[in-house]
Symmetry: C2
Subunit: 408 residues, 2 copies
Amino acid sequence: MAGALPRSPLAPDRFPDLPAIDGVTFAAAAAGVRYAGRLDVMLAICAPGTKVAGVFTKSATRAAPVLDCQTKLGQPSTAGAAILVNAGNANAFTGRNGTDAVNALVDATAKAADVPANRVFTASTGVIGELLPHDRITAHLSDLVANQSPGTIVDAAAAIMTTDTYAKGATQTVKVGGKAVNIAGIAKGSGMIAPDMATMLVYIFTDAQITQEDLQGLVGTTCDRTFNCVTVDSDTSTSDSLLVAATGASGADVTGNADFADALYAVMLDLAHQVVRDGEGATKFVEIEVTGCTDDGVARTHGLSIANSPLVKTAIAGEDPNWGRVVMAVGKSGAPADRDTLSIWFGDTLVAEDGWVSPTYQEEEAAEHMKGDHIRIRIDCGMGAGKATVWTCDLTHGYIDINADYRS
Amino acid sequence: MAGALPRSPLAPDRFPDLPAIDGVTFAAAAAGVRYAGRLDVMLAICAPGTKVAGVFTKSATRAAPVLDCQTKLGQPSTAGAAILVNAGNANAFTGRNGTDAVNALVDATAKAADVPANRVFTASTGVIGELLPHDRITAHLSDLVANQSPGTIVDAAAAIMTTDTYAKGATQTVKVGGKAVNIAGIAKGSGMIAPDMATMLVYIFTDAQITQEDLQGLVGTTCDRTFNCVTVDSDTSTSDSLLVAATGASGADVTGNADFADALYAVMLDLAHQVVRDGEGATKFVEIEVTGCTDDGVARTHGLSIANSPLVKTAIAGEDPNWGRVVMAVGKSGAPADRDTLSIWFGDTLVAEDGWVSPTYQEEEAAEHMKGDHIRIRIDCGMGAGKATVWTCDLTHGYIDINADYRS
């Protein structure tokens, strides 16, 4: 299945050049967890002193590795850390066997990489409900440790893919106190993407120096403005995990530094957009800006209601500036709205205002915008200053093709 | 567009024989509101003394006729009543023009049918955001009044269709106090169907005798167990309306009568199922039974989360007993669930129990069930006695075809 799909038409031209992050090394292997003949396991090892922060799926049926990571994040440590991820099998809804598999992976990784077990973070992505053949992974651990290199993050990005049609990476470099601070991140995800985070795995590495507490706070708020504002199909995975590891090797203290916060935001937004651009069957990248709401939360609710509406998403696939469906989606969101103060734009074209079609509206203009592959929909509720932007993709035959056939 | 689609493979063999309801007459006309050469307006006239109860969409952007009907329901009356419905144009998000159009229709109908204006209930279904050409409708009013007949409810059912592929009707007859009480109902709806009620128009007529207050109470609770338990695409229309008119002509007082309540439930459930069976692109009717929840509301939340999940619906389209996606949908619903007490059945096959695949599970058995066109999914949360059943259909290429092209 994986690798069988053509590269998304919305994909970036190529994988970016990611800088080596001082204090982090990578290796990947083809362990045959489910797929044959491709990288499907990655191991990252971080130097002692690395701080690790994270955000996880809120699913009530979350997978065993997620529960394990959540426990460990609360335990500060000065030891090194290891991140082990496999694709092909999510080790989710596997009962006690799931926990046993996590423990087996953690213990073997701790031993092979010489880090404490409570500093080994694992994740598994792929099919739900089937036993993880963890022996196939642990059989490769000594090679994964022996082959560690600062430059192979691109292999790690490839190894965590499932129905992704391209590997996803992003980077930023900022100067803090005269020192260069690098950030490099990788992600996987294409379907089952919705707040909170849904089938995304994201690993971001930086040589910034920051306390675990400050890092966790920054990662949480930035995630709310990036990964929690993208949606492909409204479905939420049992495995979503975002980890940010800060080695401190740059010697630059970024606590409270706005440039670093902006750079981390840029990396997370870039990765979040790449996930949407790889949405299953996507042919159009859709940006939905909501303004004029009673608060930001209301704006996000309206934005996600529009972004998750099958009728809006199919209209976009059909290049139809069907603003009536946008009105419908605002109405059903459950958040405050007033039909008679609602305005809607497709691209730069004012389509509707004061509860009805704008007198200046020319459908040809909006229709022209819909032919592009970057669709911008803006609504203003005319009720306040609350605002939010969310991103999604269209709903096409490709989505049905992929998901009516995922396990076969 | 309407009429162009092949009849749903899940449709009943034929429109049922509906009994005449003493005190109600019908007529339909081809007014050319949007479609050419088909019935698109219906007028029902109810005798003086008829009680009218109703339930409407909760959309914050609901259409002008819905707002008008909601105002009128609170006004008890001993006068007759008229129900005027058009297809092709929803008169929704049309600003002040929408209200003007409703007033024009109401006034003309009141005059033509000789009923008070506050007893004229209108509804419009079809495209949102375009002005309703109400003159085309009012031009037919005198004919619609002149042609009234007790036997033409089938024409009324045809006139209210939009993307429906077949007209929907249902009936029940019960004996109350030795007298026969008839119930006959019609409905339209195929896409944009979700709680609360979404793009459904439902008109039910009975010769039962009941107070307006008792009728309203019964209709509300029955709607919660029928129309509010079906979903096609989770989208909610701005126009949904359910009206039940009781003429009292049978002379049978049905207040508190369980047989009448059961019969009304059966008619509403039948119509609700017919709407799902006409779900845009549907090839499979899906029944989701949820038991073992902390309360009935939790069970309904889990059921609708499963029923609305694009990943579950595409798996069903692909005849894949992908219970992992059911687990995912339960997890994301936000309602209480415990992974390790969750059991899942496809048809009669126990697939998963105690948080993992059942030791007796044979995928072939479940796969065989998925090949049918009536799919039964059952989950038990193992946490209490709360239960609910919801109904939906699969998500197929047909849905994309219809909705990427609705306005063209």
